[in-house]
């Protein structure tokens, strides 16, 4: 009897018959959510761009940015996309052990990035840039902080997957869960590439426009 119930639970009512598009509901929902999230970052990045050079007092971007440092932490985050792919591939092969290693690696790389961001914020703070110093501080911290929060949520999901896996509840039949978290993770990475380019790489000068 128990086994019958399992079968039902594994194919929730929603997927009792094949979906109209053939895509799983969860994946469609994740894509839609990420599309919506794009506009969230779009609005934040627009704010930052609008206030580029609008600050009346320093510190200005050129006073605080340490491009080589942030490049390294950006690379760390990008590398985590690779380990995410490897985690998914391992689980698809049925290699649960490897998938755990790669999930852990991804989460650790993400943690490294967030840690780097915390360090960076602290450094900027000591150089006199706070949330309320000027519109640069305001728009910079809120934009990058929002992204950092996204990464942190991603890490939480990765660790949850890892925890499920260690409890033996993340076998190849649940590969979809890893795929979903992977989609989210890659999205957050891509957004960072945009933020890194717009905020750090495009020069803004050192004073009010």
């Amino acid at each position: 009897m128990a086994t019958i119930e399992h079968a039902d639970a594994r194919h929730p009512v929603a997927e009792e018959h094949a979906t109209s598009t053939g895509l799983p509901n969860t994946k469609l929902a994740m894509w839609l959510f990420l599309a919506s999230d794009c506009l969230l970052f779009g609005a934040l990045i627009s704010t930052y761009v609008l206030y580029r050079g609008a600050s009346l007092v320093g510190p200005y971007p050129d006073d605080v940015f340490d491009i080589p440092y942030t490049s390294v932490s950006s690379f760390v985050l990008l590398a985590s996309s690779l380990t995410m792919v490897l985690a998914l591939a391992a689980l698809q092969r049925g290699d649960v052990g490897r998938s755990r290693i790669w999930l852990l690696a991804t989460a650790m790389l993400g943690l490294t990035f967030v840690g780097g961001q915390v360090y960076e914020f602290t450094a900027f703070y000591h150089e006199g840039l706070t949330l309320t110093t000027n519109v640069f501080g305001t728009s910079f911290y809120v934009l990058t902080g929002f992204h950092g929060t996204h990464v942190a949520i991603g890490i939480l999901m990765l660790l949850t997957l890892l925890w499920l896996s260690l409890g033996g509840r993340l076998g190849p039949e649940r590969v979809e869960a890893v795929e979903l978290v992977g989609l989210y993770w890659h999205f957050v990475d891509i957004v960072w590439i945009v933020i890194f380019t717009v905020v750090y790489l495009i020069p803004t000068g050192s004073g009010p426009a």
Binding site: A14, L180, P208
Partner: protein
């Protein structure tokens, strides 16, 4: 994420799995889209009454010149809360009630794509409403207008606008989650044969609305976050003194709030598109054109936002561009109206209450649409903007439009939802009182605006000659209130009669009428197979070559009718759950925490996480 469900030997939740599907408690744990739809409807109607009382107080204050029945401070809270309530806590959730209840039935599905997320959306919405309203007792209600323009909304010393920002953020979470859920339902959960162009127009409008929500809400979310940070943490987003820009908020707000107008009115347009054919006994005229014009409205709706900002000083080029885009959006709107007229043309019109409201919708919406065109004429709008002319315009769209449509929907689907008809005679009384009261209230506001009465003023001097029409408007507002009371009495009275349980009382055309009234928990005993648009109609009637229509003999309707013949085999429905309620309860706690005490934020986060982890570990059905 949240939807990841894990098969386990037995439920490992923190809480014991609820099992009841009837009784009071079952309403707190239900994941049934029909029950959630009813919850949405009741909650929204409750807020409708509250928002209506706020409107009456506004009208009492303005009935005569130079009155001070309501102080300026309270007046500002009243019109702000009236707007916030009617937009976010009434029309949106009332539409959500119809979408929730009807979309799965109309597309032949057993439930929405993510039943537990659906419950989560409802509870988050309810908590958002309670959170915003608790502000009356916790330091002042929002008082900066529903549009919350900074710097005024940032500088205001009361807690009101902080409640506004946080409350709308919570409501935004609810709406975004629900939008994704319902959009996936429409895209992915259709019954076999239910192609996109066999979907009822209501479902189409539902899809457009969910996409509008999904792509407009994040923009205002950022606006609200920035407003919150300016108020709570002293950032400078909208602080011109530090180089920030108050106009940025206006862009972020209207980039959401104009699509929002269509989010509010498209559901009603969908309802009207369902009611008119049934009571004209004809298919919808130009189905594809109605659908495409709805999609077009959704698209163009993202390109007209600055027509709320013609007087801000964006410059003649921007004003020209947005003036013209606004004119363009009138075209698909016109197409819809002409097609509705085409539906009635040569029909066999039966004026039951739903039909009266649908026709009322058309008649009133035309007025709102035409006054809207006069705003697209930018120089003319320089005079009309922020006057009562605007108040008149958008009430013709949102009350004469959205609310009339939703009331029509209530009368139309009431027998489906509750298995009982609403009284027809009282329905007609309800309609006529509301129609007359509505026009008495908002018709004169056109004149008032043109005669120079600005919006959001607590009083006006007698010398401006605005007294007469203000008094008329106030009397009209009380007529509307009587109309709403008639509906309430009618609704309550319907429960005192025995259930009639007629599956298809209106001789309707769409799938929700193919199942019993009220439908069983699993909606259809057999998932229907769809062969055409208006599938139910074609099971009942056949069209001959010459366009003549003859009833299909009984029993000849094929094997698809959900007549409950095969009840024997088990249909597994998702089980009830506490976790959506728990997870959403975290949101208002976080909200209060941001206002009052940071430890509460931590508590809220813990509650949210506990809810989601319980959720993940709980299989969707047992």
């Amino acid at each position: 994420m949240a939807s990841v469900s894990v098969p386990g030997e037995r439920a490992r939740g923190l809480l014991r799995r609820p099992t009841a599907t009837t009784g009071l408690w079952s309403w707190f744990t239900t994941v049934d889209h029909k029950k959630i739809g009813i919850l949405y409807g009741i909650t929204a109607f409750g807020f409708f009454l509250v928002g209506g009382v706020e409107a009456l107080l506004i009208r009492v204050q303005l009935a005569q010149p130079d009155q001070s029945i309501v102080s300026p401070a309270v007046f500002n809270e009243l019109f702000t809360m009236h707007g916030v309530t009617m937009v976010f806590l009434v029309v949106m959730p009332l539409s959500a009630a119809f979408f929730n209840y009807l979309i799965p039935l109309m597309i032949g599905a057993r439930d929405v794509a993510f039943p537990r997320l659906n419950a989560y959306s409802y509870w988050a919405f309810l908590f958002a409403g309670i959170f915003i309203y608790s502000s009356w007792f916790l330091g002042g209600a929002p008082n900066g207008g529903w549009f919350g323009y900074p710097p005024n909304s940032v500088l205001d010393p009361s807690r009101g606008m902080t409640f506004y920002a946080l409350g709308l953020l919570i409501a935004g979470v609810a709406s975004t989650v629900s939008a994704v859920n319902l959009a996936v339902t429409v895209i992915n959960m259709r019954a076999p044969g239910m192609t996109l162009f066999r979907m009822p127009v209501f479902v189409w409008m539902g899809l457009v609305v969910q996409l509008l929500l999904a792509f407009s809400l994040p923009i205002v979310t950022i606006g609200l976050v920035e407003l919150l940070f300016d108020r709570r943490f002293g950032t400078h987003f909208f602080d011109a003194g530090a180089g920030g820009s108050p106009v940025l908020w206006q862009h972020l707000f209207w980039l959401f709030a104009h699509p929002e107008v269509y989010i509010l009115v498209l559901p009603a347009m969908g309802i009207v598109s369902e009611i008119l054919p049934v009571f004209s006994r004809k298919p919808l005229f130009g189905y594809q054109f109605v659908v495409f014009s709805g999609i077009a409205i959704g698209f163009i709706g993202f390109g007209v936002w600055a027509h709320h900002m013609f007087a801000v000083g964006l410059g003649p080029i921007a004003n020209t561009a947005f003036g013209i885009s606004t004119m363009i959006i009138a075209v698909p709107t016109g197409v819809k109206i002409f097609n509705w007229l085409g539906t009635m043309w040569r029909g066999d019109l039966r004026f039951a209450t739903p039909m009266l409201f649908a026709i009322g919708f058309i008649a009133m919406f035309v007025i709102g649409g035409l006054s809207g065109v006069s705003h697209a004429v930018v120089p003319s709008d320089y005079q009309q903007t922020d006057t009562y002319y605007i108040v008149a315009h958008f009430h013709y769209v949102l009350f004469g439009g959205a609310i009339f449509g939703l009331f029509g929907g209530l009368y139309y689907w009431w027998p489906k939802v509750f298995g009982r008809m609403l009284n027809e005679r009282w329905g007609k009384v309800n309609f006529w009182i509301m129609l007359i009261g509505f026009n008495m209230t908002f018709g004169p506001m056109h004149v008032l605006g043109l005669q120079g009465m600005p919006r959001r003023i607590q009083s006006y001097p007698a010398s401006l000659g605005l007294t007469f029409w203000n008094l008329v408007a106030t009397i009209g507002a009380f007529l509307i209130a009587i109309g709403v009371l008639v509906f309430l009495v009618n609704a309550v009275a319907s429960f005192r009669r025995a259930k009639e349980m007629v599956a298809d009382p209106w001789d309707a055309r769409t799938l929700e009428w193919a199942t019993s009234s009220p439908p069983p928990e699993h909606n259809f005993d057999e998932i229907p197979v769809v062969h055409s648009l208006d599938d139910l109609w074609h099971r009942k009637y056949a069209e001959t070559q010459g366009g003549r229509v003859v009833p299909v003999p009984a029993g000849g309707s094929g094997e698809d009718a959900g007549d409950g013949g095969h009840g024997a085999h088990a249909i597994h429905m998702p089980g009830p759950s506490y976790y959506p309620l728990v997870a959403s309860l975290g949101l208002p706690i976080i909200g209060y925490g941001i206002i009052f005490n940071w430890w509460l934020v931590a508590v809220g986060l813990v509650v949210t996480l506990a809810g989601f982890y319980g959720w993940i570990l709980e299989p969707s059905a047992e």
